[in-house]
């Protein structure tokens, strides 16, 4: 399951979401804010891709969603990592690192 090939760009957003959720449960808006903050405003997540990605991850069983209450007492949908999600995060991280390594090797030598 974890070895399923994922489209690289789509996979990147998935990786970021999984990574953000490792720190704890979060709602969609929170996820987008965290990615933006952590990347120092370099990565801006488009809502049009965020929510489909969340749905996709949910459908694959890597994250689970449930309705809860936000900081300002509003009903919000919170996401958290599942066990499969943690495994997938590890796999994806490893594959990302080998990808980055490969790209930087090409950039350095070519």
């Amino acid at each position: 399951m974890g070895s399923q090939p994922t489209d690289r760009l789509q996979g990147t957003l998935d990786l970021l979401i999984l990574r953000v959720l490792r720190t704890g449960r979060q709602h969609g808006w929170g996820i987008s804010q965290l990615i933006q903050q952590v990347s120092r405003d370099v990565l801006l997540v488009n809502q049009g891709s965020l929510y489909p990605a969340l749905r996709r991850l949910e459908e694959r069983g890597w994250i689970a969603a449930r309705w809860g209450t936000s900081d300002n007492n509003r009903r919000a949908r919170f996401y958290e990592l599942t066990a499969a999600g943690r495994r997938q995060l590890a796999d994806e991280t490893a594959s990302w690192e080998s990808f980055v390594l490969a790209v930087s090797r090409v950039l350095q030598t070519a």
């Binding site: 399951m1 709602h27 969609g28 808006w29 987008s32 809502q47 049009g48 929510y51 489909p52 749905r55 949910e58 459908e59 694959r60 069983g61 936000s70 300002n72 509003r74 009903r75 919000a76 949908r77």
Partner: protein, 879 residues
């Protein structure tokens, strides 16, 4: 491979689509709110913050809002909708052509029939206060509703005793012979009384109507021409007024020309003043006048009817011999003019309404399929910021565009339809011979266009109403619930179409069976190979001897022509108007009755022996007339089979005697022959008892010569005309035709009904076939994946084909069931139009259902074949 947990989740998401959509909406609203809050904290006002948040999200709502504020948005939008609509129509050319053609046929046919209904049943007659004009008829209390024309004696008494009428007029059928440039002609004339033209209050086209003093003897040598006579016989001569025409050898002055609006009793070609002869006041037994009157102010139809009924019962007491069972029917002009044509028109109008309904259903179906197909497009437009209302307007504009193009093309169809109705309208709907494409028709077509647009637009609106923000974002999900619902609507529409088509087919089927039953009925004579020439010899051969000699000589001359097989003469020809038949009281020797009143009235015809041979009327017993039946020899008669059966039972009537007066005082006559029964007044009229007399012993002037020829009778007419002109160059031929043409004329109304209803049901069938084809192709193309799976797991291709055919058959059967129920109720309104077949005729229902089912199978054959040809590999990869 799917793990069990994932399979479960996927199933759940399939089943909970709608709830998920709602959840996603809520989630996105939360997101927007958070975004706005953040901006508010950054110093923006709440409204600005919200707008900025939306802008960050999609951007387009903001632009819509900005343009809204300028107030020109509706116009810009409409122009854009129109442009996009036109582009869309051009892109989907097949769809557009089918939709527009369908609507054009529906709107055009309905408009043409509307024009006919309006003209015949609604448009006021061009007279002053036309709803105050009534017609009066003699009626019989035993058989009410027969509306017999009025005898002169009754007319005078009605006029003198009634208080209900302001004006009272009568018309008597007459004829004037005239020798024109092309030879002798016979004009149909209405002799009218003083009030006839004042009652109508029409302005003459040329000249004037009659003056009061022109109704006095000696001053009545004047005529008024009908517009059509003036145009056809006198070349629209503007100097016609004041001209003197020699009519029936008397010089008469044309004083005016009346427009086609004027009443033309007996289809008169001109009018002349009626001069009363004193003895006419005594005539009460045979009616031949048409009476028209204007109700006095304040008098209702019911009051007038009641008064006339009272007068009739007085007359019944005063003149028991003639008026014993007589009463009076006061009938509004419209009813008298249109008669049974009203039912024909209303049934046909109802039928054409069905065609329009089917057309709308079909276009709605097409439009629905289109909008589902275009859902992705609409979703994208929603995503980039088109407002929901805006999308609906876009769809409406497209429907309006299709409907108005359909209505415009419908005007062309309506024009053809109106021309066809004008040409084929039966005689009793003569009002339709002047049917035109006028303003009411145009307005009606416009109204239909709007209704069609609305009907057509409802479907895609329903579909569009279900397109949500979520759908644009839910990548990979196809049409979800919208598609399912649209499919259900699609199927319902096809069922409706089949049901409506079935009703029309049953209607047409019943009329077809009626016509067949009329045509197949045993007529008792043959119509093929016969030329018929009619003359009125009264004024040219004034004595009985001269008339008898004319008939003898003419028969001889015609029989000598090469190609002629047999010649005969009769005073009353079957299927011909004026019927010209006389009913006289006949007493049979040895049978006594209480009073002469109770003697049966029997149709009596003068004929020659050749008539029976030429018409192929079989001789059952005895002999036909021959040269020995002279004026001075033993008075003889031939009776038909009905007469023989009724009066003699199984006895042989030959040699028996009967007494009747025809062209003279009652005379005892010996029966010399029995001939077969004939259907005389119409093919649906049952044969009635009849007596024939030899023309030499009953020398009437009403003369119909029947000539049986070996070749084509139509081509032989010229020869007959030449021969008759050679015999008498001044006597006009009042009619020259073939017996087949007479037969065909007598079926005109049936053919009119049948022709229109068959055309409507053919259109309905075609539209239903298109509808079924469309829906089945769509359903099968959507099920390609499923079919691929079935084939992949080993399903038989024939089984797949059957699956498709079966589902279209199910739709057709549902439609047939509903249609049958509808037809059982609706065809009841056709009862008066049917003959020899019940409106519940099972053969018709079964045949109509079978045809529809067959059409459904044929229409879904291509989709079925396409489905069975699916390549599983391609189908599965497609997903």
């Amino acid at each position: 491979m799917l793990g069990p947990a994932r399979l479960f989740r996927r199933l759940r998401s399939l089943l909970t689509t709608r709830r998920e959509d709602a959840e996603l909406d809520e989630e996105l609203r939360f997101h927007l709110e958070m975004e706005a809050r953040q901006r508010e904290r950054g110093g923006l006002s709440r409204a600005d913050a919200e707008r900025a948040a939306r802008q960050a999200f999609g951007g387009a709502q903001h632009r819509d809002g900005a343009r809204d504020a300028r107030g020109v948005r509706p116009i810009e939008d409409f122009a854009q909708d129109l442009r996009v609509g036109l582009r869309g129509i051009l892109r989907q050319r097949t769809y557009a052509v089918v939709a527009i053609a369908t609507l054009a046929v529906g709107i055009g046919a309905t408009t043409a029939l509307w024009a006919a209904v309006y003209r015949a049943l609604i448009q006021p007659f061009p007279f002053e206060q036309p709803d105050r004009i009534v017609t009066l008829w003699q009626d019989d209390v035993r058989t009410p509703g027969r509306r017999i024309e009025v005898a002169p004696g009754n007319f005078f008494d009605w006029q003198a005793r009634s208080r209900s009428f302001a004006q009272f007029a009568a018309a008597e059928p007459y004829g004037f012979d005239w020798i024109g440039a092309d030879g002798p002609v016979s004009f149909g004339v209405a002799l009218v009384t003083k009030d006839f033209f004042p009652l109508q209050a029409l302005r003459p086209l040329l000249g004037r109507a009659f003056l009061p003093e022109e109704f006095e003897p000696g001053r009545n040598s004047v005529v008024v021409l009908a517009e059509r006579t003036w145009r056809t016989a006198f070349g629209s001569d503007s100097g016609i007024v004041g001209r003197t025409l020699t009519l029936d050898s008397v010089p008469r002055t044309v004083v005016g020309v009346m427009s086609e609006d004027a009443m033309r009793p007996y289809a008169a070609e001109m009018w002349a003043p009626k001069i009363f002869r004193p003895e006419e006041r005594q005539y009460r037994s045979s009616g031949f006048w048409q009476v028209v009157a204007r109700l006095a102010p304040g008098v209702t139809l019911e009051q007038a009817q009641a008064e006339m009924r009272g007068i009739a019962s007085q007359l019944a007491v005063e003149y028991p011999a003639t008026n014993r069972n007589g009463t009076v029917a006061v009938v509004p002009l419209r009813d008298a003019v249109v008669g049974t044509g009203r039912r024909t028109l209303l049934v046909l109008f109802g039928a054409v309404g069905f065609v329009l309904l089917i057309a709308c259903v079909n276009v709605a179906n097409l439009q629905l399929a289109e909008s589902v197909r275009r859902q992705r497009e609409l979703a994208i437009r929603t995503a980039i910021g088109a407002g929901h209302g805006r999308l609906i307007r876009q769809l409406l504009t497209e429907c309006l565009l299709v409907a108005s193009l359909g209505a415009a093309a419908g005007l062309v169809v309506a024009n053809w339809g109106i021309a066809a109705i004008r040409t084929f309208a039966p005689a009793e709907l003569w009002l339709l011979q002047r049917l035109e494409f006028d303003t009411p028709a145009l307005l009606f077509a416009g109204l239909l266009g709007v209704i069609a647009a609305a009907a057509v637009a409802v479907m895609p609106m329903v579909a569009a109403g279900r397109i949500r923000l979520a759908d644009s974002l839910a990548a990979g999900r196809r049409s979800g619930s919208t598609g399912r619902q649209a499919r259900r609507a699609n199927r319902a529409l096809v069922v409706a179409e089949v049901a409506l088509a079935l009703v029309l087919m049953v209607g047409a089927g019943l009329l077809l069976r009626s016509l067949a039953s009329v045509l197949n009925a045993e007529r008792g004579y043959r119509t093929d190979g016969l030329v018929v020439a009619s003359v009125q010899t009264w004024s040219y051969y004034p004595t009985p001897q001269l008339r008898a000699e004319f008939v003898r000589h003419t028969e001889e001359q015609l029989a000598a022509l090469p190609g002629v097989e047999r010649v005969g003469m009769t005073s009353a020809l079957p299927l011909s108007w004026p019927i010209g038949l006389e009913r006289v009281r006949v007493s049979v020797e040895g049978r006594s009755v209480a009073s002469s009143d109770e003697l049966p009235l029997v149709r009596t015809t003068a004929a020659t022996g050749g008539y029976f041979d030429a018409m192929r009327i079989p001789l059952l017993r005895g002999r036909v007339f021959d040269v020995t039946d002279m004026a001075g020899s033993t008075p003889v008669a031939i009776v038909n089979a009905s007469f023989a059966r009724q009066h003699f039972g199984d006895e042989n009537p030959i040699g028996k005697r009967l007494t009747l007066g025809f062209m003279g005082p009652p005379t005892a006559r010996e029966i010399v022959g029995v001939v077969g029964d004939t259907r005389h007044e119409g093919l649906q009229a049952s044969p009635a008892p009849g007596v024939f007399l030899p023309h030499a012993q009953a020398p009437t002037g009403a003369t119909h010569l029947v000539v049986r020829v070996g070749g084509d009778p139509a081509a032989f007419q010229r020869v007959v005309r030449a021969e008759l002109t050679a015999i008498n160059g001044v006597m006009p031929l009042s009619d020259l035709t073939t017996m087949d043409a007479r037969l065909s004329d007598s079926l005109r109304q049936r053919r009119f009904q049948l022709g229109l209803l068959s055309a409507f049901s053919a259109i309905a069938l075609l539209l239903a076939a298109i509808g079924i084809y469309g829906v089945m192709s769509r359903v099968t193309s959507e099920r390609t994946h499923e079919i691929g799976v079935r084939l992949a797991v080993g399903a038989d291709r024939a089984a797949v084909r059957m699956m498709v055919l079966r589902s279209s058959g199910t739709l057709a059967l549902a439609g047939i069931a509903i249609g049958t129920a509808l037809a059982l109720g609706l065809t009841r309104s056709m009862r008066g139009m049917l003959h020899g077949v019940s409106s519940l005729d099972p053969v018709t229902y079964v045949a109509a259902a079978a045809v529809l089912l067959a059409v459904a199978v044929v229409a879904s054959w291509v989709p079925a074949w396409r489905a069975s040809a699916v390549d599983p590999v391609v189908a599965l990869r497609n997903d």
